[in-house]
């Protein structure tokens, strides 16, 4: 067993091991815990970086062993996996830093960080899964690892949210299980493969394949918060900010979207999905979700809930992108996977900062907060503009690419959807930004805390700024080698030119 086979499991283990160690760490040893956390996150980042380089060079990271009769447990790193893995590795590091600051002096930190690492381990597993079965494994693990984070506060709302969350995700997981089992029974164990497996779908399999596809999308759509399966997401907002950030930016919703990407490209193959006539409905569904999420976000007074509905809308961009037949749309969808993650995590970090530093939860309490917390507010502004799709930020690159893909795929209505959604994005983000900067501060914040020189704790201050900087950089330097866009284009090229 060579190193190239071991690298994926080792990467997985870093956070798994971290989780175990953190669970074992006594509650009061926060220094030790932080050290474990950060060390693991850094090591993971390093390992993922190595894999990114390796995948670029064409190294085959692949580990497989039979788990159940006819079912293999497969870990492998291809271009798509390292993309997602890279995203989670980077954002894990930042979120960990952030969470350390956010949860300072709050109870149950070992539990929190333990499950947090577990969550990341699952995400990593989702990224590195080499077939649907392995994917399912980590997908469900993610569900479970997230629950304690959602209900972390233990309040009535948190518990209710946890219940909703679990209801949705487990049902989705069950549907997914059925679909995967069915597919497995039909055609056996399918590893993820560029171009998919059903280029020439046998005509007698058409009906079951269509049904399975619908089930798969329904199962994955719960996490990806596709309408009407999105109900858990806004409720899950009661979780602490780092969790919301993680849920929305990296782990949960992206897991769903990533799964859909895998199903469409690496299981079915985009051609066969198109041939089955499933691409267009998927695109319509995504489009509707985009608009629905945006419209709902408009009327949310709670900042995090607004962000949550925004997520519902934004994640469907990914779906929309991948359901546009053609390499450009694909690249757009994939790049949004990364970009949206970076932008949304920025916004959630900021929302958390407002909550933690000033005790602000509602949009209308934000008046003038920009003056009190300029760094955070700048990050928020950048994130918001990124979401709107203002150039040259990350969101612009995405929208541009997806829209170009829509034209290439001759689906012009998608552009209308994109534009309408951008307008709606602006409509719910700009008022927030406006309040931040241009309203007079009441100077009477609900729960102000002082941290000395910086506007807030340094642990809280830097992560959003870094991600905001990333939001700018991935947009501005979109054509650089190894940038998300070029990476997504690489994947798309491989997908369409077998």
């Amino acid at each position: 067993m060579s190193l190239s086979a071991l690298l994926p499991p080792i990467t997985l283990m870093t956070s798994l091991l971290a989780a175990v160690l953190i669970f074992a760490t006594p509650e009061h040893r926060s220094g030790l815990r932080t050290t474990i956390n950060l060390t693991a996150a850094l090591i993971k980042l390093l390992l993922v970086a190595i894999m990114v380089w390796g995948v670029f060079q064409g190294v085959d990271y692949h580990l497989t062993f039979t788990m159940l009769p006819g079912v293999a447990f497969t870990l492998k790193a291809d271009a798509l996996s390292v993309m997602f893995a890279g995203l989670s590795a980077i954002l894990w590091l930042l979120t960990t830093v952030y969470a350390v600051g956010y949860l300072e002096d709050s109870p149950n930190r070992s539990r929190f960080f333990g499950f947090f690492s577990l969550c990341v381990a699952s995400t990593m597993g989702i990224a590195l899964a080499g077939n649907l079965f392995t994917f399912l494994l980590f997908y469900e693990m993610l569900t479970l690892a997230t629950y304690p984070l959602v209900v972390h506060r233990g309040t009535v709302e948190a518990l209710r949210a946890g219940r909703t969350y679990i209801l949705y995700t487990l049902t989705g997981g069950a549907v997914l299980l059925v679909a995967i089992a069915w597919l497995h029974g039909l055609v056996g164990d399918l590893p993820f493969r560029q171009g998919g497996h059903f280029q020439q779908a046998a005509s007698d399999l058409e009906t079951p394949l269509t049904l399975i596809f619908v089930l798969l999308i329904a199962g994955l759509g719960v996490k990806a918060a596709i309408f009407p399966l999105h109900g858990w997401l806004p409720q899950a907002m009661v979780a602490p900010a780092p969790v919301s950030a993680l849920l929305h930016a990296v782990a949960v919703v992206k897991a769903g979207a990533f799964g859909i990407v895998r199903v469409v490209y690496d299981i079915y193959g985009i051609e066969s999905v198109a041939a089955l006539g499933l691409l267009e409905p998927l695109a319509w569904l995504a489009a509707f979700t985009i608009l629905y999420g945006s419209v709902r976000a408009l009327s949310q007074a709670d900042l995090k809930r607004r962000l949550a509905f925004s997520t519902i809308s934004q994640v469907s961009y990914i779906i929309l992108g991948i359901s546009l037949f053609g390499p450009i749309g694909t690249a757009g969808g994939l790049v949004h996977l990364l970009h949206q993650g970076i932008m949304k995590i920025t916004l959630f970090f900021c929302a958390g900062n407002y909550a933690e530093t000033l005790g602000i939860h509602r949009v209308d309490e934000l008046d003038g907060a920009g003056r009190r917390m300029p760094g955070t507010s700048i990050a928020f502004t950048i994130g918001a503009f990124g979401m709107i799709g203002t150039p040259p930020l990350a969101g612009f690159i995405t929208k541009w690419t997806i829209a170009s893909g829509a034209i290439a795929a001759n689906m012009h209505w998608a552009i209308a959807v994109l534009l309408l959604s951008s307008i709606l994005n602006a409509a719910y983000f700009l008022p927030v930004v406006q309040r931040l900067w241009f309203r007079e501060a009441v100077n009477d914040w609900p729960h102000e805390r002082f941290w000395g020189r910086l506007e807030t704790s340094a642990w809280l201050f830097w992560p959003p700024l870094i991600t905001a900087l990333m939001t700018i950089m991935v947009g501005v330097l979109a054509s650089m080698p190894f940038s998300p866009l070029s990476w997504a284009e690489l994947i798309a090229a491989r997908e369409y030119l077998p």
Partner: protein
Amino acid sequence: MITAWLMAGLLFTPLAWAVLCLLLDFSRGRLVSCLGITVQVLVSLGLWVAVAREGGFLYGLGGWEAPLGIELRVDGLAVTFILLTAIVAGACGLHASVYLAPDNAWYRYFWPLFWFLWAGLNGVWLGGDLFNLYVGLELLSLSAVGLVALGGGINALRASLRYLLAALLGSMAYLLGVALMYGQFGTLSIAGIASLLPETQALVGPGMAMALMLSGLALKTALFPLHGWLPPAHGIAKSPVSALLSALVVKASFYIAARLWLEFGHELGSTAVAQLIGGLGGAAVIWGSWLACRQSQLKQVVAYSSVAQIGYLFLLFPLTFAVSDTASLQAQQGMTLQVVSHALAKAAMFLAAGNLILATGSHQVAGLAGVSHFLPFSLFSFGLAGVSLMGMPPSGGFAAKWMLLQASLASGQWWWIVVLVAGSLLSAAYVFRIYQASFVAKTGVDDFYHPPGSLEVIPLLLALMSLGLALVAEPLLSVMALSLETGGAP
């Protein structure tokens, strides 16, 4: 030769320790039993390895061969269950040795009963003789009843009486079936009957016998709607005892039923019977899970969960009858995985529940508020076991469900998928109900009793085993699939 020693050790140890412990009080019995558990685990492991290496064999007790004497059937499945028993029972024993208060006089009788129970289990796993299985079942039932009743109050007595009556009725029905079988075939060996069946013309008698035996065993396994005795008994017993009962004892009677079905089912079964039993199993899944959601007491939740989980096992019947060999094999594998994973998970769950009850001093689910803050460790094992019950990957429960799903798909009996999915969702509902209760924020100080570390570690280990079962399912299944090698008897 080594297998002969191992077999002798396997049969001898539990019985001998039972007598030995009878002579000692609880504390000394504890020491002795720990030694015995070690021996037994090692022997079981050795036997498992031996069978995994060289294949199974028949073991004629007293040197007598089948029709006249009693032959034990030492195949892959049997030794796997023996190993499972060793692990689970060993864990429960160790847990009990700390959990039970040594100053209660009647607990001295715990150890003998415990060891007899173990002996009965081994007897059932290995048994190849219908009547011998009856005796083994009785050994099991009576020791189980004894354990439930041990030192109990009115409710414990009521539960154990109910349990005893059910067990006796079940045994008697089974014995009646055995009588008919013997009358028809003149032999008691399962293998012998199976080989004679295809040539038999008149199937009325054997059919009736099969019906009697299956019903009796269903009663002892607590198949819906015959499950009434189980929740009170399992809920009221001491936690290590509940763990033993739920994890292993009910499986024994199911194991016999499954063996009978697989051996005789082709001739004596019918689609209607298969579907009826499967339907009852499906109903059990839904019914048990639903009631588990409704219970206010922690252990009742776990007990009803057993009712539900047992239901899954009975899906074996329709999924192996008149289907392709692949589907049948998948169903059998699913069933064995379900037995193993449920045994591990349920034992872990009951032990953890015991810890939680010990810690909170309350039997109520609502009493768990704040537990996740002050006692995360105890809760953790409970949670992990719950994960397996829900059938979440990579637990054994998941592997089992996966195989059953595959089997349903391969046999075209898609309706069982509905049962499987609904069951796992419902089980998630009751498991998360408990999590949720434990996450309720409780202000104030830590006024919980903190159980000693050894109590906490045991369920955790069991839960972890159950959780990781799917990862080693393939090698495990390959051992389980080992059938008998002819002439392997020593």
